[in-house]
């Protein structure tokens, strides 16, 4: 008997669908689910933070060691900024005991920390062209307290992290991908928060001085200092400096805020 082998014409063991198609369908489904989930979560967090009082918030954060609140050695700069902040109280009445911490660093940045702490790097104070500019920066951080943005981001981050951990395990590729994707979505949210805080700062500025001169000084300085490539905007937690300047100018025109001369910022550093 002569054996003559024949090969099958098609491979039944491999699916016809291309891997890219499959990736599209699965990823689309997953991202869709997560977006729905994320939106619901966002609402839930926004709803629940209304019911957390500042005292409860302080208790919550007392559990975490806050390294910035060193009592006793307040520098002249710190005192000056703290005094300035006190004078803002009538314009920005917040249920927080806001405390200023000045950190010696070349960084040009300030941040709002839970429990009413504002951290300002001395590099930022050195760059201040006017008191108005500083009031705007402080107003911006007060805006974060007013909108309770730190609670929001903590709430979202926490729930996403926990769910990803329980559903997918600690070392899952998909989990990591989700965290990355939601992180980018979160930054959109964060940019909205920054814009809202800018708006609040403008209100504080107008209330304090009766005009909004100096509101864009800070961002103009930042814009000239560091140029960011266009594509990085999507990854940024803050809107671009130019956009913030434009938004502030538009807002000032809309609300008929005056622009007047700025008060110089002088503090003896001895």
């Amino acid at each position: 008997m002569e054996y003559s082998g024949k090969l099958p014409t098609s491979n039944v063991n491999v699916s016809k669908r291309t891997p890219l198609q499959e990736l599209g369908i699965l990823l689309g489904g997953l991202v869709g689910l997560c977006l729905i989930f994320y939106l619901c979560l966002g609402w839930a967090v926004d709803y629940s933070i209304q019911h957390i009082s500042p005292e409860e918030e302080n208790d919550l954060y007392a559990l975490m060691k806050f390294p910035l609140s060193e009592e006793g050695k307040a520098s002249d700069q710190t005192v000056a900024v703290q005094d300035l902040l006190q004078s803002l109280q009538k314009c920005a009445a917040l249920p927080y005991q806001v405390k200023i911490n000045v950190s010696e660093s070349k960084q040009v940045n300030a941040a709002a920390f839970p429990g009413g702490h504002i951290l300002i790097f001395s590099g930022l104070l050195d760059q201040m062209g006017s008191e108005n500019e500083l009031v705007f920066v402080l107003g911006h951080e007060l805006g974060h307290f007013k909108h309770r943005d730190h609670l929001r981001s903590l709430g979202r981050g926490l729930v996403i992290g926990v769910i990803s951990l329980f559903l997918l395990g600690p070392d899952s590729d998909v989990g990591e991908f989700l965290m990355g994707a939601l992180g980018v979505a979160n930054r959109t949210h964060s940019r909205e928060q920054e814009s809202a805080a800018d708006e609040y700062a403008l209100e504080v500025l107008n209330c304090h001085y009766g005009h909004v001169g100096g509101s864009t000084q800070f961002f103009e300085m930042l814009r000239d200092k560091n140029q960011m490539p266009e594509f990085m905007k999507y990854y940024s937690t803050h809107p671009s400096d130019q956009k913030r300047i434009d938004d502030l100018n538009t807002l000032a025109v809309e609300r008929n805020y005056r622009v007047d001369r700025v008060t110089p910022w002088v503090v003896s550093t001895q």
Partner: protein
């Protein structure tokens, strides 16, 4: 940053994975055509054949194939939704056919290979980070040479 790393890994995995797979399938098909006249059967007894047996030999072929980043990600998505893990189908298919081919290549001049068995093993069972997910297929049988 992590996201960019992820995208780069996915693109690399897809690019190299697809390229390697295409090349492998091409090679498999050519060699299958070449060896198509060597009967390879799972029966214990040889097919009726004129002549006498001059040689019997254990023929074995073994291959390890690794999964790429793209395929693994696709499979882990399947982990989430369920269903056929089609991204691993080609992997297992290639491994089986390659192992069978290597078994055939190990016994030049054989008339038939009987009692063929395939064994599979996954080389890394833990799904921890950094481990390589790969499959081993071992094909073995009895090669008989007639004169």
């Amino acid at each position: 940053m992590e996201f960019i790393t992820f995208i780069v890994l996915m693109l690399l995995g897809y690019g190299f994975g697809t390229w390697a797979e295409r090349r492998h399938y091409k090679s498999i098909e050519e060699r299958e055509l070449k060896y198509r006249n060597l009967p390879t059967i799972a029966l214990k007894h040889p097919l009726p054949q004129p002549g006498r047996v001059v040689k019997t030999k254990l023929a074995a072929g073994n291959v390890v194939i690794s999964v790429d980043y793209f395929k693994r990600f696709l499979a882990s998505l399947r982990n989430f939704f369920g269903g056929r893990v089609s991204s691993y189908e080609t992997l297992v298919d290639r491994a089986r056919r390659e192992a069978t081919l290597r078994m055939k290549e190990s016994c030049p001049g054989a008339t038939q290979i009987i009692n063929v068995r395939l064994e599979t093993a996954s080389l890394s069972k833990n799904t921890k980070k950094g481990s390589i997910g790969s499959i081993e297929v071992f094909a073995y049988g009895t090669a008989i040479t007639y004169k």
